[in-house]
């Protein structure tokens, strides 16, 4: 840490800015852990207790950390582990096994991974085991070997816990919990899941072996707290090399959070989602605008950042369509209105479109059938329309029944934004008989 000694040194502005980026980016990408998990003190304490008991006193334990995505489950756990690792006997004692439901898609793979993380490949060699249980038992047994009579405690962290529940017979879970019940090797099983109903996924025999400890991270935080969070996320640490710049920065952050427009934007975000991730995304966008030229986050940045985040993607896509495709969409809209959301096929849409053209004198848009076909295909490719039934390989494309994946408002908004949209089409969109 070279920062220590050049504290309060004056750095060139560019250096400072890059430092800011460095720090904040790491924070947003969740590599730089916060000192304390904001607003989760209770859970933090609880978890730390549990794990300590395993690590130090060799008690077995099992616990689930449940909370919506981005609520800071992983962060919480990692904070706790960091705390634990500070204590010397823990760090030389405790073994850790990290599994992730996304990666270890079945128990065989999981077991391999466990073996690897416990550095037991050579011990196992090419033994063959009758059952999963035997194998696991052997592994844990292998840990006993060595000078110590009592084996070292093992911490199993199962990220995306719910996915493990989908494995065949839930063998892994069963065995882990089973071991955690039996007082042989002290292990702690920590499951992390975003599904509140995760317990329902467990089979009875598995569930019965699980100590029904759950740590819920239900964010019940109020807007002021949220605001504090934002501020906390943005503010620079005190050990920032250039003290003065840090102060300026933090001051600017403070003022930012007090700004009215910002407040309103953040409120909107707060109401849509309170989790860290979306906040990080938002702040990341703001941060990306910070440069030497303007070494602070302006309200304007936040505004268009939020605009970027909360733009209706479909409307964006609609704006890029050709006029013909737009016409088809309008025709579909009318069909939807007439037949109350009955599925339609290209023929019908084309028919509707033709009606419109007949009313119009100009033959600007009457294309050959194949061209219309192409346009239709394109819409399908963009998944703005979806075929009704999956098994439509046999039917010709022009007769395949489709549904429109857009709603009124989106179409209308798109029409408003559409560059050089012909007026007659606008009228037609407004009413089928324009």
């Amino acid at each position: 840490m070279s920062k220590r000694k050049l504290k309060n040194a004056h750095l060139p502005i560019g250096e400072c800015v890059s430092q800011v980026h460095q720090i904040l980016r790491e924070r947003f990408c969740r590599h730089q852990l916060p000192e304390r998990p904001a607003g989760l003190e209770a859970q933090h304490k609880h978890l730390e207790e549990l794990l300590k008991r395993t690590a130090v006193h060799g008690e077995s334990n099992s616990v689930l950390i449940v909370g919506p995505r981005g609520a800071g489950k992983t962060t919480l756990l990692r904070c706790v582990l960091r705390e634990l690792s500070k204590e010397t006997e823990v760090q030389k004692n405790l073994l850790q096994v990290h599994l992730n439901g996304l990666l270890q898609t079945d128990d065989r793979v999981a077991l391999k991974e466990i073996t690897r993380q416990l550095h037991l490949e050579n011990v196992v060699g090419d033994k063959v085991f009758g059952s999963f249980a035997e194998n696991l038992a052997f592994l844990l047994e292998a840990l006993k070997k060595g000078d110590r009579s009592s084996s070292r405690p093992v911490l199993f962290v199962l990220d995306e816990f719910d996915l493990f529940a989908h494995h065949k017979n839930q063998t892994l879970l069963y065995n882990l919990f089973d071991v955690s019940q039996a007082a042989q090797t002290p292990i702690a099983v920590v499951g992390i899941s975003c599904r509140l109903d995760v317990l329902e996924l467990l089979e009875k025999r598995v569930k019965s072996r699980f100590s029904h400890r759950q740590i819920h991270l239900l964010s019940s935080l109020t807007f002021p707290q949220y605001l504090d969070r934002v501020r906390a996320q943005l503010r620079l640490p005190d050990d920032f090399p250039d003290g003065s710049f840090a102060e300026e920065w933090n001051a600017s952050v403070k003022s930012l959070c007090e700004d009215g427009s910002v407040d309103e934007v953040l409120r909107r975000h707060f109401h849509s989602s309170t989790d860290f991730r979306s906040m990080h995304a938002l702040l990341m966008l703001c941060l990306s605008r910070v440069s030497v030229a303007k070494p602070a986050i302006r309200p304007a940045d936040l505004l268009d950042a939020s605009r970027l985040c909360s733009a209706d993607t479909k409307v964006n896509m609609l704006r890029g369509l050709s006029v013909l495709e737009l016409c088809l969409i309008i025709a579909m809209k009318h069909l939807n209105d007439v037949y109350r959301g009955e599925p339609f096929n290209l023929q019908m849409v084309h028919n509707e479109f033709k009606k419109f053209l007949q009313r119009k004198s100009n033959s600007m848009y009457n294309f050959e059938h194949p061209v219309v076909m192409k346009a239709f295909e394109h819409l399908q490719q963009l998944e703005l329309i979806r075929p009704v039934d999956g098994s439509s390989a046999k039917t010709q494309r022009e007769y395949q029944l489709m549904r429109l994946m857009l709603d009124h408002s989106q179409i209308m908004e798109a029409l408003q934004k559409y560059p050089q949209c012909p007026t007659d089409i606008k009228q037609w969109a407004a009413s089928a008989f324009a």
Partner: protein, 445 residues
């Protein structure tokens, strides 16, 4: 405009070059660059870039990464028939072939991550590594956990790596039902008319002046912009019609500057082309000649779409006609159409009121083989024995996709078919055997 691209940590002239290579995409490039940050800094774990075809998504990325010489792996999801190819591609381009060879046969995601971590610990990232997924929509069809894993790849491998997904489809359709790590959404809007003009004018013909070509592009856009905004298509059209545009010039009738005359000359041509935009209308000399020989009609430049005429054996024609009738007429009307003396069928109960939508909107209905044959025997003028070749003709019609077999292939008894040709086609066919099909179609009574 070069000033738009500024990012500490990269040489000025490189940024300069980039902004020249990316006309009309400075904004997006700039945003992307600022998100990527300085080479050693962390980038947001996953970015999802969407926009229409040829709105420069992959182009911008490739230019950025190549010019700035950042470590990156570009993967097209079409190509990755299996996830293995994807893994190998990534490892190969980050750590070289030996890493790729470490993967076991048909590796799982965890193997991949393991190998990656292994090498990551050997060569830690000095710069952010980028994984680019083209046509990301296909990831949805891969194993369920692939996409979520990729989205939080950075976290899984604990490396300074960012995954960038490119797609033409909006993110909403990607999200798995249990949710996942939300990537940063970036939209690449289409080029505006002006931008198109600017871009298209770049690839000018060497033997003509830039103004001349850009004026040509101007005319082109004037005609096509309303119906076609696809850069690639427009470029194709430009290439296709430019010689025509130059003709009077070659003939020495007009000067380059005389735009109006040129316009007069090209305009009808373009108008004609507009009717068939999006259908790659190319036809070769040899073919045109053959057509001349074949049918003695004036072989004006007609494209693929125009040539729907198919030469069929005599009975095949009738089989096709029969199939068409069978699939567009309700079965109950066969009596009236094909019986010589169908007693007195009242118009009223014959024409059902409730059928408001015509069958030509709803499309063909499947029909059993024997109905087809029954109609066939009644429409064909001469008496035909049910020989094997009749049946083989039916099956070869299926091969030619003029008929579609609805029932499954291995169902041998009572197969069901559908007629897959258009009304125009069938009328053309029936004209050649002077059979007035319209008289036999329920929709046209």
């Amino acid at each position: 405009m070069a000033g738009l691209l500024q990012q500490p940590g990269y040489e000025e002239e490189r940024l300069q070059r980039i902004s020249e290579l990316l006309p009309c995409r400075e904004v997006q490039a700039g945003l992307l660059l600022s998100l990527m940050g300085q080479p050693q800094q962390y980038c947001y774990p996953s970015i999802f870039i969407f926009g229409h075809r040829s709105s420069g998504k992959s182009h911008v990325l490739n230019v950025l990464l190549k010019e700035l010489e950042l470590p990156h792996a570009t993967v097209s999801c079409v190509e990755c028939v299996s996830a293995t190819l994807l893994f190998e591609e990534v490892l190969l381009s980050f750590f070289g072939s030996d890493a790729a060879s470490l993967l076991p046969r048909s590796p799982s995601l965890s193997d991949f991550v393991r190998v990656y971590r292994l090498h990551r610990s050997q060569f830690p990232a000095k710069q952010t590594r980028y994984v680019i997924m083209e046509k990301a929509e296909l990831l949805r069809d891969a194993e369920a956990n692939l996409l979520p894993a990729l989205l939080r790849f950075q976290e899984l491998v604990e490396d300074n790596v960012a995954v960038i997904l490119l797609s033409e489809i909006v993110w909403d359709t990607f999200r798995p039902n249990t949710g996942c790590f939300e990537p940063l959404l970036l939209h690449f809007p289409d080029y505006s008319k002006g931008e198109l003009q600017q871009i298209l004018s770049r690839d000018r013909h060497p033997s003509y002046s830039a103004e001349f070509y850009s004026s040509y592009i101007n005319i082109l856009l004037g005609v096509f912009y309303s119906v076609c905004r696809d850069l690639r298509e427009l470029r194709h059209l430009a290439a296709l019609n430019f010689p025509k545009f130059c003709e009077p010039l070659e003939a020495g009738k007009v000067k380059e500057t005389d735009t109006h005359k040129l316009w007069k000359n090209i305009e009808p041509h373009l108008k004609k082309a507009m009717q068939t935009v999006y259908l790659r209308e190319v036809s070769s000399l040899q073919w045109e000649q053959m057509q001349q020989v074949e049918e003695h009609e004036a072989g004006a430049l007609r494209g693929l779409s125009a040539h729907t005429h198919v030469e069929l054996p005599y009975y095949s024609k009738f089989l096709l006609i029969a199939a068409y009738l069978a699939s567009y007429n309700p079965a109950r009307t066969d009596k009236r159409f094909f019986l010589k003396h169908h007693g007195k069928i009242k118009k009223t109960n014959f024409l059902k009121k409730n059928e408001k939508t015509s069958n030509h909107l709803l499309g063909p209905k499947p029909f059993p083989l024997d109905r087809l044959l029954a109609i066939f025997y009644s429409v064909v003028d001469s008496r035909v024995a049910p020989t094997a070749s009749i049946f083989s003709q039916i099956s070869s019609l299926v091969t030619l996709q003029l008929l579609v077999q609805v029932s499954h292939d291995d169902q041998l008894d009572a197969p069901k078919y559908k007629c897959a040709v258009s009304l125009d086609f069938i009328t053309a066919v029936s004209r050649t055997v002077n059979f007035e099909i319209v008289k036999y179609l329920y929709d046209f009574l």
